[in-house]
């Protein structure tokens, strides 16, 4: 593309010239308490999931999640399941992989006809009933390109609010080690036709969170 980008210097010069006139003084900062305080994150998370059409299943441990996963995969139509390459998921999916075709993220990108994807998550956010994933969770397409997305996580990953979630990915260089993060809240949807809400657009129609109370 060439390094010639004259516009860059022009724009910067215009910005600096424009700001030569100082902006008028601003009033004092606003009230801290903008978001309602969250007393019980798990309870809030489950309530928000119910509202945004995320299926949230809580199990005592990862083995329980593995069983639930097996049942879920039984409901998925024929086709290759795309799974994030991770030891936890290798274990969780062990039984199901006997009967279903599995493509691991280490084997390459998922296929267009894949009916479901299984991934881990970075954090779960109680405030909005959201799941935060990074590219380390099976890549970019895994959490958006199939009709069903199944997330395996533990309650230890639950944080109360968005601010905490975003602060979490700053740590240990994670923010710069991943090229993308997505905060996922419920089924994909659109209201573009007569402003009527339709669930299931281009992203997954079904989002399931299998939550283990015990940490691995």
């Amino acid at each position: 593309m060439g390094d010639e980008n004259r516009g860059r210097e022009q724009i910067l010069a215009r910005i600096r010239a424009a700001m030569g006139t100082a902006a008028p003084a601003q009033k004092a900062a606003a009230n801290e308490k903008i978001i309602v305080r969250i007393e019980n994150p798990l309870k809030r998370f489950r309530a928000e999931c119910a509202a945004n059409n995320t299926e949230c299943l809580v199990r005592p441990d990862w083995a329980g999640c593995g069983n639930a996963l097996g049942e879920l995969l039984g409901e998925i139509p024929e086709g290759e399941i795309f799974v994030q390459e991770a030891p936890l998921l290798r274990r969780a999916i062990a039984k199901s992989s006997e009967t279903r075709a599995i493509r691991w993220s280490s084997q390459g990108q998922l296929s267009e006809s894949s009916p479901a994807a299984v991934t881990l998550a970075r954090v779960l956010v109680a405030e909005s009933g959201s799941v935060l994933v990074s590219t380390a969770c099976g890549g970019r397409a895994a959490s958006v390109a199939t009709p069903v997305h199944i997330v395996l996580a533990e309650t230890r990953q639950l944080v109360p609010d968005l601010g905490t979630a975003l602060a979490a990915i700053r740590q240990h260089g994670e923010l710069f080690a991943n090229s993308s993060f997505s905060l996922i809240t419920g089924s994909s949807r659109t209201a573009d036709i007569e402003k009527i809400l339709v669930l299931g657009a281009h992203g997954p129609r079904r989002l399931v969170v299998l939550l283990s109370e015990q940490s691995e």
Partner: protein
């Protein structure tokens, strides 16, 4: 009168009497009002949320060069490219050259007002590149070959029957006319495009300076697919979209969702910085951010109106505006319509050409009331009017009329006598049944409204008579 002004007058007049359109728009907005009301109630303090968002944006706009440079550096550190485009043409050229050198034949595109602003689609198509709009509303208006009706819900002016007919004609495979079935038709049509396109083009809602990432908000998931599957991802973004810190999104995302659609938060809020990082499973090989000026620095230089750059493109002002509710988005004839469009178009496209939009308002202030980043929109419309007068852009007849009116008002006796004369003339004219006819001096009023009864005596005359002055 500029050409744009003449066209607007014609279109607005035509749309104003389109009762069916008004009904559809009205229904959509009434629903919006209901859900947004609930959405605001979720905040402990909605006003404080607005103030915080205003401050975040203000900080960014007032140090734009610093934050843009920080953003650029961090994107480059991630292996991405940043191109600064002063004009629409420069931005288009960059994308076209990129597409040409990469042998791009198909583009999937998610919603971007900036891409509309620079007329990107037409330019790509003229080079033989197929462009798929993947946002459902944009996909629909693209098939209809018309511009978006509203910045957030581009097809809100259409009924399901109209959309079904359109899909039948252009796509086939339409079995039912209910919204879910129609969405399924669109999804099928677009899925192949996502998986085969060489280039994905998106806009961005925010540029996060300290992280070197763009933030894209969508409900459908189409933007994520555009940024995940094609080999090249290009994001075209206005320079004013920058925010200082990642944590700023913790309040901006919920506020944008609430004001935009009444949701607590949009389904997908995605951060993208750079092409696929080493070791990643998938993702584009190339990532380009095109930063667009196109008149934004002109707005930045206007100290009074600089805050209009705070806009997060939520569409709330359009929904609140009684003029928008009456004529819809197409009548404005501009990429950015509604109150925010009326405020900024003079800065982006010239006051002479676009001053009329600032006059096509009753200055009711509903826009200012709802703006989640507290832009004093109706005040800026008035300032545009004042600027138009000071730059001598107003019609001579108006200037003369105002001057005469002021002269009459500067002296009580003069005002009394002249007003009496006008009143008597009106009484005479209406006594001769001229009301509503071509000879009616108040035709501008009586074309659509009954004239008020013209009193024989003014208040002051009656007061003097009964109270003696």
């Amino acid at each position: 009168m500029s050409a744009a002004s003449r066209q607007f007058f014609q279109d607005a007049t035509a749309k104003a009497v389109d009762v069916e359109l008004r009904e559809i728009v009205r229904r959509g907005i009434d629903h919006y009002d209901l859900v947004v009301g609930r959405g605001k109630a979720r905040f402990a303090d909605w006003e404080a949320a607005r103030q915080r968002c205003h401050e975040i944006r203000r900080e960014a706009i007032n140090h734009l060069d610093r934050y843009l440079l920080e953003f650029e550096q961090r994107v480059r550190d991630r292996g991405g490219h940043v191109f600064w485009a002063e004009t629409a043409e420069e931005a288009r050229k960059y994308v076209l050259d990129l597409a040409a050198s990469a042998g791009v034949r198909t583009v999937v595109k998610s919603k971007s007002m900036v891409a509309e602003e620079i007329h990107l689609n037409g330019a790509l198509e003229s080079r033989g590149i197929k462009v798929w709009e993947t946002d459902l509303g944009e996909f629909i208006v693209q098939l209809r070959r018309e511009p978006p009706f509203h910045i957030v819900t581009p097809a809100m002016h259409l009924t399901r029957e109209q959309i079904a007919k359109l899909f039948r004609e252009k796509l086939g495979g339409v079995e039912a006319e209910d919204p879910p079935s129609l969405v399924a038709v669109a999804r099928r049509a677009l899925r192949r495009a996502f998986f085969s396109a060489e280039m994905g083009i998106t806009g961005a809602n925010f540029l996060v300076a300290d992280s070197g990432m763009i933030a894209i908000t969508s409900n459908e998931g189409n933007a994520r697919l555009c940024a995940s599957l094609p080999r090249i991802h290009v994001a075209i973004v206005g320079i004013e979209k920058v925010v200082p810190r990642l944590e700023d999104l913790a309040i901006l995302w919920p506020v944008l969702a609430t004001a935009g659609t009444g949701q607590p938060i949009t389904c997908y809020n995605t951060l993208v910085g750079g092409p696929r990082a080493p070791g990643e499973v998938d993702g584009p090989e190339e990532f380009h951010v095109v930063l667009l000026d196109n008149g934004r620095t002109r707005l930045l230089a206007d100290v009074e109106q600089r805050e209009a750059l705070h806009c997060i493109r939520c569409g709330a002002c359009l929904n609140a505006c009684p003029v928008f509710r009456s004529i819809g988005g197409h009548a404005y004839g501009t990429v950015y319509s509604g109150p925010i469009g009326s405020v900024i178009m003079p800065h982006l496209g010239g006051l002479g050409a676009y001053q009329h939009l600032s006059y096509a308002s009753s200055l009711c202030g509903a826009c200012t009331e709802v703006c989640p980043v507290k832009i004093d929109l109706h005040r800026h419309l008035l300032q545009n009017r004042r600027n138009a007068v000071e730059e001598s852009l107003r019609p001579l007849s108006e200037k003369i009329g105002m001057r005469l009116w002021q002269w009459a008002m500067l002296d009580a006796g003069r005002f009394r006598r002249l007003a009496w004369a006008v009143r008597m003339a009106m009484r005479l004219a209406y006594g001769m049944r001229l009301e509503g006819t071509a000879l009616d001096p108040a035709r501008a009023w009586t074309k659509n409204r009954a004239a008020p009864p013209i009193p024989r005596h003014s208040f002051r005359a009656m007061w003097r008579k009964t109270r003696g002055g």
